[in-house]
């Protein structure tokens, strides 16, 4: 198993470690519920050093063909994404964030679970050169509704980044205005010892350390997918209603998506909200039931401390994509009322 290089400082801060995608990472610092609310009300930081980070170099047209969104006309310093690498069947190899460094080099952030698969896939499908930076830099996100009360304001528009900048007393490799929580903030890549210094400073300033459980509940409130749970090599972006592609350009998997747009789909991703005060959490593979028959399935779920209820997402048969209607979710023999909802859930 891999381990974050920030482990020492995170243990000092009370981190409770667990395994995620082959990495030992802080899952929480005592209470994910409080960490979640810290992001929605103030600010918190997350260690994202498990995420795959690749430098890709080569011909622009060749790279652009691999990516489902247009990258060719994006200027240096822009992030393109979330977008995806797709199979010929139009299903997800991975959903990724692309950072345009210049006309012949790009950074790509992959899901931790897909890092090696993506490296091999790029090499197999192109002549592009891939360098794995994952183990060279630690990565954190600082996110929150009041993030600029705690952080030095960055002169970056959302989804823009800058390389090699000094920020809050540390030398960064990459600084971006981005995140995956629905709140404003920054993501920072830097040498582990630099980030360690920054984390101690942030803790003193009152930025709450947060673990991957809070990150998961925050992304579910926003309706953001997690690879391996909500999308995989058997799901297409159309079924996931995850608009990570542009039909205006050529890309690997485009023909399959075009065919699916023509023929239609059998399932579509949907959100669910249970009743306030409900304390049983649906689980992955819980059945969504209507009139005694299964009409859908849960793929992710959690308890939202912001909405005080369990929430989640899953796939509905398109014949029963009844946004706003209440259905039952079957959990351990119990039938729980759940409202079919669109994203974001907050």
């Amino acid at each position: 198993m891999f381990s974050t290089k920030l482990r020492n400082v995170e243990e000092e801060l009370g981190g409770d470690f667990g395994e995620f995608a082959g990495w030992s990472m802080p899952m929480s610092y005592g209470s994910y519920l409080e960490e979640h609310l810290a992001v929605r009300n103030w600010a918190a930081f997350f260690d994202l050093s498990h995420m795959g980070r690749l430098m890709i170099r080569g011909k622009r047209a060749e790279f652009d063909y691999l990516v489902a969104k247009r990258t060719e006309d994006a200027n240096a310093g822009k992030m393109v994404g979330p977008t995806a690498f797709l199979t010929e069947r139009g299903t997800f190899v991975d959903d990724v964030m692309v950072y345009v460094v210049d006309g012949s080099s790009w950074l790509v952030v992959t899901n931790a679970v897909n890092r090696e698969k993506v490296i091999n896939w790029i090499r197999r499908n192109s002549g592009l050169e891939v360098e794995d930076l994952t183990f060279d830099y630690a990565m954190i996100a600082v996110q929150g509704r009041k993030v600029w009360d705690f952080m030095e304001k960055v002169e970056l528009q959302p989804l823009n980044f800058v390389l090699g900048k000094e920020y809050m007393g540390i030398k960064t490799f990459l600084l971006s205005r981005s995140g995956w929580t629905g709140e404003d903030g920054v993501e920072v890549w830097a040498k582990p010892e630099e980030i360690e210094h920054l984390l101690r400073f942030l803790k003193e300033r009152g930025v709450r350390p947060a673990g991957l459980i809070a990150r998961d509940s925050l992304r579910q409130e926003m309706g953001f997918v997690l690879y391996g749970e909500d999308i995989d090599e058997n799901t297409t972006p159309i079924e996931a209603r995850y608009w990570v592609f542009s039909m205006e350009k050529e890309f690997l998997g485009r023909e399959a998506l075009k065919e699916q747009l023509r023929s239609g789909v059998n399932k579509l991703r949907i959100g669910i909200k249970l009743k306030k005060g409900e304390r049983t959490i649906p689980r992955r593979d819980s059945k969504i039931m209507l009139e005694g028959q299964q009409v859908g399935v849960i793929t992710s779920s959690t308890y939202s401390p912001y909405l005080n209820r369990p929430i989640g997402m899953g796939y509905m048969n398109t014949s029963h994509f009844l946004l706003g209607y209440s259905v039952d979710v079957e959990v351990r023999g119990k039938r729980l009322e759940a409202k079919l909802s669109d994203f974001p859930l907050v």
Binding site: S28, S31, R279, T280, I281, Y303
Partner: protein, 130 residues
């Protein structure tokens, strides 16, 4: 506890392999989950409680403690009859996190025979690697 441990284990009670604690007072056994168990489950969101007067056998799943991580079965540590369930947990399941050996107790069993196979505190500490 003399040394600083990650998990609290109290000397005045007995333990199960499945991380319940038992405090026996006459013919009533109070049952909850250990500090180790609550920390592994993390924030507890809900509980399913047993109904009083239910007859239970050692090893029966009788309650469920629900967290984002898992819905964990809580087993009867001995044969007996459920005499009471901690209904405060229905609205405040976080009591199990805050005070696993006190206000976070889960149910009480009226013993029908002498409990067997429970672990002393030292044995339980060995089991969880403390």
């Amino acid at each position: 506890m003399e040394r600083k441990s990650k998990y609290l284990v109290l000397k005045d009670r007995l333990y199960t392999d499945s991380d319940e604690w038992v405090k026996i007072d006459g013919d009533i056994a109070v049952v909850g989950i250990t500090d180790y168990a609550q920390k592994k489950l993390r924030d507890i969101i809900g509980v399913d409680l047993p109904k009083p007067d239910t007859r239970v056998k050692r090893g029966d799943p009788v309650a469920v403690v629900e967290s984002v991580k898992a819905a964990a079965d809580i087993y009867a540590p001995m044969d007996g009859i459920i005499s009471e369930a901690n209904e405060r947990l229905l609205d405040s399941p976080e009591l199990i996190n805050k005070d696993p050996y006190g206000e976070g107790w889960i149910f009480k069993v009226k013993l029908t025979e002498k409990p067997e196979g429970l672990l002393e505190a030292e044995k339980y500490m060995e089991k969880i690697g403390e």
